[in-house]
């Protein structure tokens, strides 16, 4: 069970219709690769965020499959075209089954 996991999202509060905006996301997570050993020589079990998705009004913006060896606190920056006002829903899926969510409302005008 990963501890201290906290998602953060930076998105503009408003955009003009059809505008391309930059979304920045970061989730604090240790991203244990499963390949390291502790000081007694035992394998530390893998614990990573394995999938990250972003949806805008239910429509997929990006869907990322993540692998071990992505470093701690994974950061994603991407662009999205905003056709109309709505909610941007961001979801991170943890190896342990936990799902972390955040959402941002973007107004048009």
């Amino acid at each position: 069970m990963a501890s201290g996991v906290k998602p953060r999202v930076k998105a503009p509060k408003s955009a003009s219709a059809g505008e391309t905006v930059t979304i920045k996301t970061l989730i604090s997570h240790k991203m244990e690769s499963g390949l390291r050993k502790d000081k007694d020589g035992n394998l530390i079990p893998r614990s990573i965020i394995n999938r990250f998705t972003c949806e805008f009004n239910g429509k997929s913006v990006i869907d990322v499959e993540m692998q071990p060896s992505i470093s701690t606190n994974p950061y994603f920056e991407f662009e999205a075209t905003i056709p109309e006002a709505g909610d941007m829903k961001l979801t991170w899926y943890d190896d342990d089954g936990s799902v972390y969510e955040d959402s941002k409302s973007i107004a048009v005008g």
């Binding site: 201290g4 953060r8 930076k10 920045k24 970061l26 604090s28 470093s71 701690t72 606190n73 950061y75």
Partner: protein, 284 residues
């Protein structure tokens, strides 16, 4: 045949004009589009002409690394500062008190603290760093255990405290009761350590702007500490950095929190007098 190829390569390499790729740049550091940080200032009088211009290590990093520090969302060091704020508000120890119970909002109470430390403390009768003051509070007023020097929680709280001084000029007192500590720090700065017989000055005074293997040598200013380093993906304290440097000279080093490093911290801080505080900064 092989020999011939080698000679041609050597000849071409020698014909290229010599230029240094490690020189500092002229970019301007503005954090979050609002905090202007002085990164190039005139040297203080006590430097006696040792440096022609005092420069933050920020100038020696590439544009991508520089940009990370210019926005709190992009600066991974701010995650530590955020955690430091949570620790600030949490009650701990036998007295059931938190930092916030006495000191309130750190944006007010801790403003300028990072810029003026290490500072001579009348009551303790010695030179004290921010982390020593934190531990004094913990053991004397909170009834909590002292944190290990430069370890996780201590560095997170120090980063949070530093963040409230960003942009303010380094201004440490080096006269009066602090003078003997400053002299001791200066002596350490110019002492050659280790099998490689290198002093701090050998790299950071005589060779800043040159390459050290694949990296750029800065002036070794400490206005940016605690520093988030990309190489170990965590916040690093200034004493840990000193230790790393001395270890690299193949010497037996002093420990973080030792009298030697406290004195050295004052001296190195004084070399950067006038530079804006950047902590938590981002470096390689």
């Amino acid at each position: 045949m092989k020999f011939k190829t080698m000679s041609v390569i050597a000849a071409v390499a020698m014909a290229l004009p010599t230029f240094s790729m490690a020189d500092p740049d002229d970019d301007k550091l503005v954090i979050n589009g609002e905090i202007e940080v002085a990164t190039k200032v005139a040297p203080a009088a006590h430097l006696d002409g040792a440096l022609s211009e005092v420069m933050s290590g920020w100038h020696f990093r590439n544009d991508d690394t520089q940009a990370m520090e210019m926005d709190d969302f992009d600066n991974p060091g701010m995650l530590g500062a955020e955690n430091g704020m949570a620790i600030w508000e949490a009650a701990e120890g036998s007295e059931g008190k938190s930092c916030a119970d006495c000191h309130g909002d750190p944006a007010e109470s801790m403003k300028g603290v990072r810029a003026s430390y290490p500072k001579f403390d009348e009551k303790a009768g010695t030179l004290m760093t921010v982390q020593m003051k934190m531990n004094e509070c913990r053991t004397e007023r909170m009834g909590a255990e002292a944190w290990k020097y430069d370890a996780g929680k201590a560095i997170d709280v120090e980063a949070m405290i530093a963040s409230h001084s960003r942009g303010m000029p380094v201004n440490v007192a080096i006269d009066g009761p602090a003078a003997p500590f400053w002299e001791k720090g200066k002596e350490i700065y110019y002492t050659r350590y280790g099998q490689l017989e290198l002093s701090c000055a050998s790299c950071h005074e005589e060779n800043y702007g040159n390459m050290i293997r694949a990296d750029h040598l800065s002036q070794g200013q400490i206005n940016g500490f605690p520093t988030y380093r990309l190489k170990n993906a965590k916040l690093n304290g200034v004493h840990s950095r000193f230790k790393g440097c001395i270890r690299d000279t193949r010497a037996h080093t002093f420990s973080p929190g030792s009298d030697e490093f406290i004195a050295l911290e004052l001296y190195v801080a004084s070399r950067g007098m006038g530079l804006g505080i950047e902590g938590p900064s981002v470096r390689n």
